[in-house]
Every structure is written in C-alpha cells, then in structure tokens.
C-alpha cells in the first residue's frame, strides 16, 4: 500500500518531467535556439560589459540630455497610470458583482478591460504609431490602455472582496446607488487600490523604456540612439539612470505601501 503510493508519486513526477522536457525540446527546435551559442554568449557578454559597457568622462557630457529624457519618461508613466486609475475606478464599479447595474452591462465592462489588458504594450505602441507617429502621445496611450485594462480587473476584484458586506448593509438601510458608491465602495478599498496603482507605476516605468525604443521617445529613444551608433559608454549611462530610477520608485512605493496598508 505504502510502497505503491510512493511508486505512484514517483511515476507522476517522472511523467511530468518527461513531458516538460519534450515540450522544451520542441520549443528549442521551433525557435532555433542554439544552446552552445547561448552558453557562450554569457561569458562574452560579461567580458564585453567589463571592458566596454561603462560610462566614461566623455559620456558624462550627455548626462543632461539623458536626464531630460528620463524625466519625460517618468512623467509619462505617472500621468498614464494616474489617468488609467481614475478611469478604471468607474469601469470597475460598473463591472463588479456587488455594484453592477445589470449582468450584461457588467460582462461588457469586464470584456472591455480584458481586451485592453491582453494586447501587449508593444503591440499597442505599434498600433498607435499609425495615428500619432513618433510622438509622446503614442507612448501615453499605449501605457494608458494596458494600465486601464489591468487596473480595472484588479479594482473589480478588490471591490468584490472588500465591500460586499458594507454594501449589503447600506442597501438594507435604504441608501441610494451613488451614496453607496461614493461613501462605501470607493473609500473602503482605497489603500489596496492605491497599492495596485503603485505596482502599475513600477511596471509602466519598465515598459516605458520598451515603448520608447518602439516609438522613438523618451529614455528608450536615448538608449536606442547610443546603442545603434555604438556609443556604448553613453548607453551604459542610460542603463544606470534607468536602474537608479526603478530602484528609487520601488523604494518609494514600498514605503508608501507600508504606511497605508
């Protein structure tokens, strides 16, 4: 009995590993990934990083330009996240199970959020390039759409978790729809919602670099410019600035999160 239990367990683990290995092997063939080249590239990249990928005194001249672009990128992320948060609150209230006006309406709200969320930010950038071109608005809307989709889902779940009892009590006491929304649903879950917004802001600063490379704006554009002109010293300075910014934003948002939750 006991022996067969362990045997079964071992067999299922072995099966899992074999299936995983088979899928991985298939993926290696399909993507054309070369193991030897992959392993060889790691020490090569390290060597290149140490010998060439560091800022020099000359590249420090570019620092004001880089900081200017960095500020634009940070502002872009903050603005898109904040606006998305505001818009997401409205859609989340309408889409939540606790406050839905009608089931069909709620499904539509969730569907809209799902579409925005499931198209990757890079895909949104390429789509919006047609309308705005290489413009800061392309990045703004790409980040806004994805944040809006993600935050709507997060807020909907938060509202359903936190406020269903309070809403029931208020409904029983005869409070109207808007009273319940503004006095209970929105304020009661604000710390958690803000925590999601801060998370999204961190994500957006990371994505903004990618969006910048694709749309030719902000810090991503600076990196792309120096990288493609083989000015690796300046490119490394850009990376250092990005890393410092992301670590700082993470620190600030963790501090805020600890204080409000």
């Amino acid at each position: 009995m006991q022996a067969s239990y362990f045997l079964k367990k071992r067999l299922s683990t072995a099966l899992f590993i074999i299936i995983l290995l088979a899928i991985t092997a298939g993926a290696v063939i399909l993507t054309g990934f070369d193991f030897m080249a992959g392993f060889a590239s790691i020490p090569k990249a390290a060597e290149w990083g140490i010998t060439q990928f560091y800022p020099t005194a000359e590249s420090l001249d570019k620092l004001p330009d880089i900081l200017d672009k960095l500020l634009e990128t940070i502002m872009l992320s903050i603005a898109s996240t904040t606006i998305a948060g505001g818009a997401a609150v409205i859609l989340a209230v309408l889409g939540s199970k606790t406050m839905q006006v009608h089931v069909i309406f709620s499904v539509i709200c969730r569907g809209i959020a799902s579409v925005f969320r499931n198209i990757d930010v890079s895909a949104w950038s390429l789509i919006l390039l047609f309308s705005f071109g290489q413009h800061v608005l392309t990045g703004f809307f790409a980040l806004f759409f994805v944040s809006f989709g993600f935050l709507t889902r997060a807020f909907t779940e938060t509202i359903d978790e936190v406020s269903s009892h309070a809403v029931e009590a208020l409904k029983a006491a005869g409070a109207g729809y808007f009273t319940i929304v503004f006095r209970s649903v929105i304020p009661s879950a604000i710390p958690r919602k803000l925590s999601w917004v801060l998370f999204m802001m961190e994500t957006n600063i990371r994505s903004a670099t990618l969006v910048g490379i694709l749309t030719g704006t902000g810090i991503g554009f600076s990196f792309d410019l120096y990288y493609k002109s083989f000015n690796y010293h300046a490119a490394s300075l850009v990376v250092i600035c990005i890393v410092a910014t992301i670590l700082a934003i993470e620190f600030v948002s963790n501090t805020i999160r600890r204080m409000i939750l």
Partner: protein, 280 residues
C-alpha cells in the same frame, strides 16, 4: 477659562460634527498626500509634454477612426494566416523556453535566497543582486546580450531568462519564507539534512504557490516575447507585427495580427483562471 474653551469646542463641533475631533491619522495623511502628488504630477506632465505640431483632439479622433478601420477591416496581405499562426507558436515557445530555464535556475537560487533555509549573508547577497537584475528592463537585457550573440533568438532567450530568473527568485524565496517555521525545525531536530528538508517539506508544501508564480511569469513572458520580436528582432509574431507596422505600413494586417494575439491571450487567461481555481 476652561469653561470658555469647552464652550467654543462645543460650538465648533455643532458646526462641523465629525471633522473637529478627528485625530491625526498618519495612514490617511500619507494616502491623501500620495493621491494629491500624483494628480499634481499628472497635470504638470501634461503641461510639460512636447506635443510638437499635433492638434491633440483631432489626432485622437483620427486614432479612433484608425482603430475601427484596423480591427473591422483586418486582412492578411504580406503574410498568410498560416505564417502568422506559426509565428504565434514561435512566440509562445520563446516564452515557454525562458520560463522553464528561469524556473529551474530560480528554484535553486530561491532556496539559497530564502532566509529560513540559508545563511543571512548569502540570502541578502542574492536578494540584492536580484533586485539589480530586475531593475534593468527585459528589453535592455536582450539588447545587451545581442552585442556578443547578435540579434536573434539566442540573445532573446538569454536576456528574457535573465529577467525571469530575477523575478522568480524573488517570488519563490518569498513563498519559501512563508512556510511554517516549526516544520523545518522539527525536521532538522530529527536529523534531516538540508536536501531532505527541501525535497520532503519545503517544495511539496509550497508547490501551488510555485506553480501559480511560474504560470504568471509565463504570461508575462508571452507579452515580453511579442515585445522582443518587435524591438530586438527575436522573431515570432512581434517581428511580423513590427514589419507590418513599420515596414509595409499595412494597417489592416496589423489589425489581423492583433486579433490573433488577442485570441491567444484570451485563451491563456481563461486557462490560467481555470488552473488557479483548480489549485485552490
């Protein structure tokens, strides 16, 4: 004197009943301050953006028209449907490969980074290094590895794996740290070695956490794989989309590829929700 002050207190609280006696609340102060500063920064950034010569509202109107046209008249022209389907498969394989490599490596380092299974020095050393790895965006890792390896799937896989490792080490080590302290102590006092503790207690009891974190990373990597195709020439559907958008300038084809990406993403999300409910 005291009667006067109590009288004025009374008068004040009649006028504004709740606010006058509310004690100072640090949490709500921080909350309001954060919300206010976000609002101010947003307004400031809208003022400071370089709008060039675009008339914003006209451009938004045009963008809506474009979006409607793009999605309602979606059509493949330069690629066939089969090409695009294969490209999506390549993208998913890129995500799968990087998630598997990342998960295997991160499992090992996650154990070393968990404070209850390792020494404090080693744990903080790994966690510090991981924080740095995560702070560099995925696309930059890929482009950095592209210098020695050339643009293509090798650089994309190694770069994306790097970022996945960073993310998963953090997630795994935090799940390990949530484990019951008594269990590890009990096993240790009965003479179990480190590997015994890991394979008989730590991994089995945190399995569902590990699975859901890994699947979440897989979803992130799917998005990243599309992005790397577009920004770093990694192949797959992202590259097709980049070609359709920036090279052929074919709006309708971009629409068709987007539909395909959306379809796959929705299938993925539904199965993820299914899996999560099953694991609960």
């Amino acid at each position: 004197m005291s009667s006067m002050s109590s009288k004025s207190d009374g008068e004040m609280s009649k006028g504004i009943p709740n606010l006058a006696k509310k004690p100072f609340d640090k949490a709500s102060f921080v909350l309001r301050f954060t919300l206010l500063s976000m609002l101010v920064l947003t307004i400031f950034s809208f003022i400071s953006f370089d709008y060039k010569d675009i008339r914003v509202f006209a451009a938004i109107g045009e963008a809506i028209n474009n979006l409607v046209a793009m999605f309602s008249k979606a059509q493949f022209t330069n690629f066939t449907f089969q090409d695009a389907l294969l490209a999506v498969l390549v993208t998913i394989c890129l995500a799968l490969l990087t998630t598997v490599f990342g998960a295997v490596i991160a499992l090992f380092f996650g154990l070393l980074a968990a404070r209850n299974l390792s020494s404090p020095l080693l744990s903080s050393l790994i966690k510090g290094g991981v924080a740095f790895i995560r702070a560099v965006p995925t696309v930059l890792w890929v482009l950095i590895f592209a210098v020695p390896a050339g643009l293509g799937s090798v650089a994309a896989v190694i770069g994306m794996t790097f970022h996945s490792i960073g993310y998963l080490i953090k997630a795994y080590s935090e799940s390990f740290e949530e484990l019951d302290k008594g269990m590890i102590e009990a096993l240790r006092s009965s003479g179990a070695g480190w590997w015994h503790i890991v394979f008989q207690a730590v991994i089995p009891s945190s399995k569902s956490y590990l699975m859901s974190w890994t699947f979440m990373r897989f979803e992130i990597n799917c998005g990243a794989a599309v992005a790397m195709g577009a920004a770093a020439g990694a192949g797959g559907v992202g590259f097709d989309m980049f070609m359709a958008s920036s090279f052929y300038l074919d709006m309708r084809e971009v629409g068709a590829i987007t539909w395909l990406i959306l379809l796959f993403a929705l299938v993925m999300e539904t199965s993820a929700t299914h899996l999560k409910n099953k694991l609960k």
